[in-house]
């Protein structure tokens, strides 16, 4: 009897999930597609060591610049390396950089933003610094930062993170400023809630929804900027098979072997597009104002 009850429960749970998915599909078809593409790309990248048919570093001069075909799905590069394997491995680097930059910049931006939103004296100084940072185009600042240390994935993460921080700070500060005027915050202060608790219990949860949306956009932009930096020759070290590096090497052969550029670029575009689509969906889902608006 317990068994049949459990089966019934799990069955109703399953159909509820299915109904939920169907509802999601009707309202946010693009986000679901985005999520699906992103998960597929993530699985492909994470499983690259098992899925890749060839060693991404193995050179094979006889097979250089082969067209895409049965043996080499995406063809080969000028050193005869398998582009499909290299593209799969490149996805790992893009994912790593996208996630690290999104995590780091939201964390640092959150701390600075809360400080700026809460303390008026700190606000004036911090926001001037953020204004100044925002006046420098992100890619330019990242390029300049890249020149300071030996190229490495960590340096790339830092160089992309710093220009992203001001946007997070502005967002968090705006939320904190509007929340601290709310009656329930005033009430919490009046009943003697201490500052750390006030932040953790009342202010932080309010920043969460916009931060998640912002973090997805930052991840998408970080993936794109990493590829630009590598393409320009100032990103990940040239021996790392990141998408930007593969494309940068392929540009020399654009006339005779365009697949060197097209294959990794399409993967790159798909990843950025899927993250952005997911972000748009999350924004609509988490913003109650958009739900009531006439579409």
């Amino acid at each position: 009897m317990t068994q049949s009850l459990q089966q019934g429960l799990s069955h109703s749970g399953l159909s509820a999930t299915r109904a939920g998915l169907r509802r999601l599909w009707r309202r946010y078809p693009l986000s679901l597609i985005g999520g699906f593409v992103l998960i597929s790309l993530t699985v492909l990248s994470v499983l690259a060591p098992w899925l890749a048919p060839f060693d991404p570093f193995e050179m094979n001069v006889v097979d250089r610049l082969r067209e895409p075909g049965e043996e080499y799905f995406f063809g080969t590069d000028a050193y005869g390396r398998d582009l499909f394997s290299r593209t799969l491995y490149g996805g790992r680097i893009s994912l790593l950089i996208g996630l690290s930059v999104a995590g780091l910049s939201t964390l640092i931006g959150l701390l600075i933003g809360i400080l700026a939103g809460y303390s008026r004296s700190a606000d004036a100084v911090l926001m001037r610094i953020m204004d100044g940072l925002m006046a420098i185009p992100g890619i330019l600042l990242a390029i300049a930062l890249m020149s300071l240390a030996r190229p490495g994935i960590g340096v790339v993460v830092v160089a992309i993170t710093i220009p992203e921080i001001p946007r997070v700070v502005r967002l968090v500060r705006a939320v904190v400023l509007s929340v601290r005027e709310q009656v329930y915050i005033q009430a919490a202060i009046a009943t003697g809630t201490r500052l750390p608790r006030l932040m953790l219990k009342h202010i932080l949860p309010n920043t969460l929804a916009p931060l998640i949306v912002q973090a997805t956009y930052i991840a998408a932009s970080a993936v794109l900027i990493e590829s630009y930096l590598s393409f320009l020759g100032v990103g990940t070290p040239p021996e790392v098979p990141s998408w930007g590096n593969i494309i940068a090497e392929g540009r020399l052969y654009v006339q005779i072997a365009p697949w060197n550029i097209v294959c990794p670029s399409v993967f790159l575009a798909l990843m950025v597009l899927s993250i952005n689509m997911l972000g748009d969906g999350l924004r609509d889902m988490l913003d109650p104002r958009l739900q009531t608006r006439v579409r």
Partner: protein
């Protein structure tokens, strides 16, 4: 009005000050000896010493900073370590391609994005809207080099209509100047179009729900008059603001596009400077571009009252 203008102009000073401090600290806060970084891996101890003295890196930070600011104010941006020429002169030589590409991209994007955004908002929720917005998300996500090389393969290599790469000064030949700009402009313009179309649609959507739009329609005005004269005019302030703040994105895109099309502009200059660790050039480029950004956004701020008479200072 005058008081506001003066106040607004003064408010740019702290921003420029922060930019200067960031640029100054960039080199000094780097791990390791700045002189050794500039000198590169194969430098001798003597080379490093010489660079340290040449750039005044052996003096106290505050003295260095104010000395440097003093030089900047007199228009002395220093000398390139590698090319041994004034930084401002180097930037000046590279301005034309960058300015041409930026302006043509902006014009292309505005001409394309504003009608698309208006159309999407007007037909909100229909397949027209969804198609335009899907295009916008895509153009925003596709890397510049995929669009760029795609256009090159199609229009230069296959159809042979346009040059693959390079730049010709407008003083040499206007026709060649334009022909070389077409593909880079389309490449970069698509990204910028996506940004502007999204903001145009969002702003127009809000305005089309306003009472005065209903009144205008009730008066029996034609739909195009309502859209352009009543709605778009009121949407112009957010759109123009986005053009200004989008300048940072545009300049970032220019750097990459110049590299795809081998255009000898400021973007190429920056990359060359970074690869050669030519610090005075990197600093000069960042200062000049950040100043342009600040000044353009200042002008846009001041122009609001022209577009929207409700805004009075």
């Amino acid at each position: 009005m005058l008081a506001y203008v003066i106040k607004r102009i003064l408010s740019t000073l702290p921003v420029l000050g922060v930019v200067a401090i960031v640029v100054f600290l960039l080199l000094r806060l780097s791990p390791g000896d700045p002189a050794a970084i500039i000198a590169g891996d194969n430098a001798s101890a003597n080379d490093i010493l010489q660079i340290r003295e040449q750039l005044g890196l052996d003096r106290p930070y505050l003295e260095q900073f104010f000395g440097w600011i003093g030089q900047l104010i007199t228009g002395d941006f220093g000398y390139s370590i590698y090319l041994k020429r004034p930084v401002l002169q180097l930037i000046g030589e590279r301005v034309e391609p960058t300015l041409a590409l930026s302006l043509s991209t902006m014009a292309f994007a505005i001409v394309l994005a504003v009608p698309l955004g208006v159309l999407a908002a007007w037909r909100a929720g229909t397949w027209i809207d969804q198609t335009i917005m899907a295009f916008a998300v895509m153009a925003f996500s596709v890397p510049v080099f995929l669009i760029g090389y795609g256009l090159v393969i199609q229009f230069s290599l296959t159809l042979n209509w346009l040059p693959v790469q390079g730049f010709v000064s407008i003083h040499k030949s206007v026709g060649d100047f334009i022909r070389h700009l077409v593909l880079p402009t389309m490449t970069l313009g698509l990204v910028y179009t996506a940004l502007l179309a999204r903001i145009t649609r969002a702003t127009m959507l809000e305005i089309l729900n306003e009472d005065y739009i209903r009144t205008a329609r009730a008066k029996g005005l034609t739909e195009s008059r309502v859209l352009v004269l009543h709605a778009l005019k009121n949407a112009s302030v957010p759109i123009i603001t986005t053009i200004g703040t989008g300048l940072a994105l545009l300049i970032g895109g220019v750097v990459v596009t110049e590299s795809v099309f081998a255009i000898p502009g400021i973007g190429r200059l920056t990359i060359e400077a970074v690869l050669q660790r030519d610090y005075p050039v990197i600093q000069g480029v960042i200062l000049v571009i950040a100043s342009v950004y600040v000044v353009v956004n200042l002008l846009i701020d001041l122009s609001y009252s022209l577009f929207d008479p409700r805004i009075r200072f």
